[in-house]
Amino acid sequence: MRRRGGGKGTQTSDLPFVSHGPQPIVLSLGVVDELQIEFSQYEHPVVMTVEDQAKYVGNSEGGLSKNLFLKDKKNRFYIVSALADTKVDLKVLSQRLGLGKGGLRMAPEEALGEVLQVPLGSVTPFALVNDSARNVSLLLDQGFKGQERCLFHPLSNDMTISLNVCELDKFLRSIGRDSSYVDLEANPPVGKDNPPDLAALVPSDSIVLPDLPEKAASLQAPPKAHVVSNNKSTEITAKATEPSRKVKNVKDKPVNSVQPSSSFKDVGQFVEEILDKTSALLLSEITEETIKQHGQQLGVVVSNCIRERLASELKTDTTLYMQTAYTEGFHVARKMFQSTDIHHQFRCL
């Protein structure tokens, strides 16, 4: 499909040529209880950026969304879905979630496929329909509520659907999720007397990805030159009816669904966390007030404060690190001896 009209620009041309024009289509999503959700749907060439998407659908009624797939240092994942114009500051969000400054990064590409099961450029709240994304936290821009309709990708970036945000809520509820609307532009202070206001949105479980040596070529959605598919409705239902698809990387542990924090195995991560905690405390203790109050002595005061407040927490963490290392060593030794039968020596004498 080619765009009519020449030239680039963020100004959209006429509505895109789509084989089926925008119309309200009531579909049943094969999710739970055959939900009836009202939305309009547009096809267009694959778009990798919001600007590109805007060229095709920006003229239709609705707030275009931008969707970020993020990860913190403890392998917990987040989708931040916001109006294209909302300013999202990752540093501020990170603090509001209680992850310290710089605790949030863009998730790596492999995670898109492994966790959200969508191709590059298709991050969308709808990806939460997949079981692999059950531990991903969703933050929705409060601004969506003020829009008649909002525009999201369904599960691929060659389509955009437009729906009222209540319909999105309905969908989320049907897959057992809460809708958490957040004022993404707010920047409340976070410190000793002001706990991080979004801490409740941090997932309780982390997701550990396997080390994929070859970045699977399949993750890169081949740009489709022409949209051919007539079965628009199957796009969502197809994924939705596979709720049993588990994340491939979750090792077949029988019951234990809680993944222990990987920072207890990774020196770099462990040290970073210690430095994050120390630095957060340090920064919160150095304010105009405390400088005025202690002057030259502030260094000593803060130093003592850090020692006092962090000692026992760091001890706990380090003990866990040590226990984890020992356990690994123990199991290696056990394996070694199992093969030569010497382990019988260690039975109770």
Binding site: S261, T319, Q323, T327, E328, F330, C348, L349
Partner: protein, 411 residues
């Protein structure tokens, strides 16, 4: 009356008939109840059992020997009684080490704060004195006394082990074992040596067994006694028959170890030393100990912040007055106030506790504020425990429970 005479006297007291004991408070491993409507009288208990009060000079001595501040439980008199703790310290000063022995009867998956107390204290002792520790999970006992299958009690033992490990024990010097897995070999030989030196009449006197009780109950006490002797752990203490043992426990376990101490010299070992704690009061007040069967009597390690807040606000017995005016006038009754009691267990800052007691006792501070502070303290504690617990894997439990040598356990 010297300590040995006190002990002898105590063993004789145990021969009181059940009728005589009805009027008194009841304290044994299976039941703790104060005299009607009152609280546990610990002075009477010490008298009756024949153990010693832990006086401040001993606490100072511990601080000197370990070069660090005494644990908050020592400072606040939570661990308040002992047997032969000064002998342990004397030996330690001479360069003779000891090992720690504590345990848990895994009767339920849900652990509450009262269960954690001996483990928190033992972890401190291990760290401060740098000594090895054995932890016994009496899954056989729970099978014998409760309505559980063998499988279930073994499973509970492993689950409880995870919460115990979360208290931060040093894996390089800690051996955790379950009776169903470990009993045998040298451990069993000691059990039989012990059983030969204890009569049926004695266990009836100490534990209150009756003719209708199954023989499993009668044969259990030696199982809990055997870990007091180093030769029960040949993979750890081979050749160290002279090694002393210190047992941190709640005071209701005293009867087991009185029996053990009676037997020890007759089989050629040191008597195990004991350091004993009060009971952690139930939320509703100090008439007994926390019960795993009433979820609102205790704060569980799995309670969320919301649940903790609700439990403290709703169920924690307050010593405050009925109305604000009356409270400002008379102040709070600190003797019965549960939030203050809990704070004295868990609020580390001595100065803050003193200040709170003063303000609350004089009526200047209200119950709500005290409860709020308690909720903060408990939430932090429970959070830390949960975090540590989440990091404990089945592999880690295997490692702690493996019959393995512990080189450098005294370093």
């Amino acid at each position: 009356m010297d300590s040995k005479a006190a002990e002898r006297g105590a063993s004789e007291n145990e021969k009181e008939t059940p009728q005589e004991q009805e009027q008194e408070q009841v304290v044994n491993p299976w039941e703790v109840a104060a005299k009607e409507g009152g609280k546990i009288d610990y002075d009477k208990l010490i008298d009756k059992f024949g153990c010693q009060r832990l006086d401040p000079s001993l606490i100072d001595r511990v601080e000197r020997l370990t070069s660090r501040r005494a644990h908050v439980f020592l400072r606040r008199g939570v661990f308040f009684a002992h047997r032969d703790f000064n002998d342990i310290l004397d030996a330690y000063e001479r360069g003779e080490k000891f090992y720690l022995y504590t345990g848990r009867g895994p009767s339920s998956e849900a652990l509450h704060l009262g269960h954690l107390i001996p483990f928190m204290f033992t972890q401190y002792l291990q760290e401060a004195f740098k000594v090895p520790l054995v932890i016994q999970l009496t899954d056989d006992e729970k099978f014998l006394w409760k309505n559980l299958t063998v499988e279930e009690s073994r499973r509970l033992a492993r689950e409880n082990a995870k919460d115990i490990i979360a208290c931060g024990f040093d894996i390089r010097r800690t051996f955790i074992f379950s009776d169903f897995d470990y009993v045998g070999g040298a451990f069993y030989r000691n059990m039989v040596e012990i059983s030969k030196r204890v009569t049926c009449n004695q266990v009836v006197g100490i534990f209150g067994f009756i003719g209708e009780d199954h023989i499993g109950k009668y044969s259990f006490p030696p199982v809990q006694a055997a870990p007091s002797f180093p030769s029960s752990f040949p993979h750890l203490f081979s050749g160290k028959d002279n090694l002393r043992c210190l047992i941190p426990c709640a005071i209701d376990q005293d009867p087991y170890f009185r029996m053990t101490r009676d037997v020890a010299p007759r089989i050629g070992y040191h008597k195990p030393a004991l350091i004993e704690s009060l009971f952690f009061p139930a939320l509703q007040g100090e008439t007994g100990k926390m019960s795993a069967s009433d979820p609102n009597s205790a704060i569980y390690v799995t309670d969320s912040e919301k649940v903790i807040k609700n439990k403290i606000n709703k169920y924690a017995f307050s010593g405050g007055q009925d109305s604000i005016e009356k409270h400002r006038q008379l102040g709070a009754n600190l003797e019965v106030d549960i939030p203050i009691k809990y704070l004295s267990f868990f609020l580390e800052d001595d100065a803050e506790l003193e200040h709170t007691k003063k303000e609350y006792g004089s009526g200047r501070m209200l119950t709500g504020e005290v409860k709020q502070r308690l909720i903060e303290v408990l939430t932090k504690l429970v959070e830390r425990h949960r975090r540590a617990r989440a990091a404990v894997t089945d592999e880690m439990v295997d490692a702690f429970m493996a019959v393995r040598p512990l080189p450098n356990m005294f370093n």
